[in-house]
């Protein structure tokens, strides 16, 4: 990046600049056949685009669909969403609901409202790149708490905060089918995390984009539900993973006392969330399409996860460790220490497979030999092909090719 000639200094924080960015751009520019394990997108055939296109024809012909939306969200979408959430672990009420430009804007709102420069913010390690990036963009000091098969290690959290000698201003957690690890936080840890949040008076950011994509195991209550209206818990949700990420529509669930602050902050970000796609989603929910769509998706994602795990065993055997998620989009694969996955990335692209290197998910770059693989975007045959190519790429790198 040729920044040296630019005459003004940007803010001290560098606002990300991670591997994921260049990988996205690279992918957009690639001409040849690539198996895409990189982005966390539903597969094209998993998007209900026929139904959406038919609904769009009616909804997007209405002139009032192109006006500003109410900042808290279109009344029709709000109503349809509240009805959809009724009876789920994410049930809520109108005065706690704000429609956002995807889950990402929910994170931006939370950090912008509460994080001052130098504040301590807890993130999981590994964690969602753009989530930690947003905290850093407000000049937070991050504390990376390790994740294991039961999610964030809450005991370690307590120790690390004690060592830091001050309470975190915010704790950023992805409790269910975590991005990137796929791990889910046990119910005991969820309770414990809420307890610690209360003890420290921190804001608990409960980011749960994948919760409705469980394909194995038993449901676990969301942090939102367990916290039972605690004002310190702010929940971030999105339609990205359950309908399509390109929509950029999500929501925040928070204490009613925060509603006006959230509205004001959102107006200074993007005025309102796009209205035509709010209407489109409302029509999709009103038509009862989501339930059926999710049921189909869960079956497909289970099949894809299994295909990927089996191919990994076939091609890598004991050379790797791999998580075993019960839902969501991702496997987290750890290679031997000799494998540098950032170096592997370019080689793998050349060999026809894309992933995200582990260090993109850790501001301190704690995962040089791990990768995140998205099994959701490709059909089983393509997944097997992609894993075979990954094997080739690893061999190429080991041979110094």
């Amino acid at each position: 990046m040729a920044r040296t000639r630019f005459p003004l200094a940007a803010r001290s924080t560098d606002l990300v600049g991670s591997v994921i960015d260049s990988s996205t751009s690279l992918l957009a520019k690639q001409q040849h056949d690539i198996v895409r394990f990189a982005m966390g997108s539903p597969a094209p055939e998993a998007v209900p685009s026929e139904v959406l296109g038919e609904l769009a024809r009616a909804e997007l012909s209405r002139p009032d669909a192109y006006d500003y939306a109410a900042s808290e969200g279109d009344p029709r979408l709000r109503e349809a969403l509240l009805a959809d959430l009724d009876g789920t672990t994410d049930h809520t009420t109108p005065e706690r609901l704000l429609i956002t430009a995807g889950g990402m804007q929910g994170l931006d709102l939370a950090f912008k409202l509460f994080v001052d420069p130098g504040d301590l913010v807890v993130v999981e390690s590994p964690t969602y790149t753009n989530g930690s990036a947003t905290a850093m963009s407000y000049q937070a000091q991050l504390l990376e708490v390790p994740v294991d098969d039961e999610g964030m290690q809450v005991d370690r959290l307590e120790e690390m905060v004690e060592q830091a000698g001050r309470a975190p201003k915010a704790i950023y957690a992805i409790p269910t089918f975590q991005n990137p690890s796929g791990a889910s936080m046990s119910i005991e840890r969820r309770h414990r995390l809420i307890e610690l949040t209360r003890r420290w008076g921190s804001l608990l950011i409960d980011d749960d984009p994948y919760g409705r994509l469980r394909f194995a195991g038993d449901d676990v209550p969301s942090l939102h539900e367990l916290a039972d209206g605690d004002p310190l818990v702010l929940s971030v949700r999105t339609f990205s993973k359950i309908i399509g990420p390109g929509l950029r529509v999500g929501w925040v669930e928070a204490d009613p006392a925060l509603q006006q602050l959230l509205i004001n902050a959102k107006q200074a970000m993007d005025t309102c969330t796009n209205l035509p796609l709010q209407r489109l989603i409302a029509a999709f929910l009103e038509g009862g399409h989501l339930g059926e769509h999710l049921a189909t998706q869960r079956v497909a994602y289970r099949e894809r996860k299994t295909a990927m795990q089996e191919a990994l065993v076939e091609h890598f055997g004991d050379e790797i460790r791999c998580t075993d998620p019960e839902g969501g989009f991702f496997l987290w694969v750890t290679f031997g220490e000799e494998v540098d996955t950032e170096a592997l990335f370019e080689r793998a692209l050349a060999d026809g497979v894309a992933f995200i290197p582990g260090n993109a998910f850790s501001p301190s770059k704690f995962f040089p030999n791990a990768v995140r693989l998205c099994f959701a975007s490709s059909q089983p045959d393509r997944i097997r092909e992609g894993v075979a190519r990954l094997r080739t790429a690893v061999d190429h790198v080991k041979q110094g090719a």
Copy 2:
């Protein structure tokens, strides 16, 4: 706002909380017949919704329309937009272009990248509420420079910066058919503003949402064009006023050295701009619909402006002063000093007309007896009715009703 019970302190800056917010919410909740001079929206019949609905049926049936977009914008929209801008005063090149979630996100990006707490930021007085709000959300110290019939008073700018004793980090200007005054900056002042920007090494934010809606007078080159690629000029544009604000699609035009920084910052705000509506706008541009649409709009807006001015003269005569814009959406009306337009606001809603009080456009609240009236949203008959209602509301307030 019941913030007192909330256990955490939000950041020191209050992130707006202006009259415009409550007015938006109030309007959304109003049940009875209101003439809407408040929001800066095109009229419903001015939105090409039939064409858009037809295009949506095809574009939004394609599964790839629901994936993440490239952060710099969908290649198809970028290409169509570059072709559309070719030969206009906003012509540009791919490496200077970034698609954003409306013009508002362009402002958020500029201030987020360059404004540190305490930095001096120049805004026009009056200015666009959410623009100054965004600067304040990064804890800028604002310098409000008065606007007259030729736009920002650049002589006063120089004096005021001298008095402040330090250079502004950024200068936020809406040079053409300014929001809220309707004034346009003369070409001499545009040159002068660019000169001062260079002398001070400031970032000049050139926000020009209305430039293509000229219905009288001669074209004036944009600040972008006059600056001829100066890296200190960052231009913010949007489809909000020329197609529809609900789309939330706009763009930033900036030095190529900023492209990666803008992409990184945008990823930490909302990942990317919604893709289905980028595709919809691309199809609209590719089909050659924009030129015809703008030609129709200009005729309609000229007629509406004239209707509003005539009605104001009829009902208020010498009691008010009113600007005379050559394009855009707004008249700025100043009443006698005895009229408090914030008090008038509630009364006017009850009497069936909505506007935005002048103080919403000035962080220091310099305009207690002014209002912004949007003539673009209503047909001439409704405009006449609305101005008559405004007269009634003023009389009610004067009578202490």
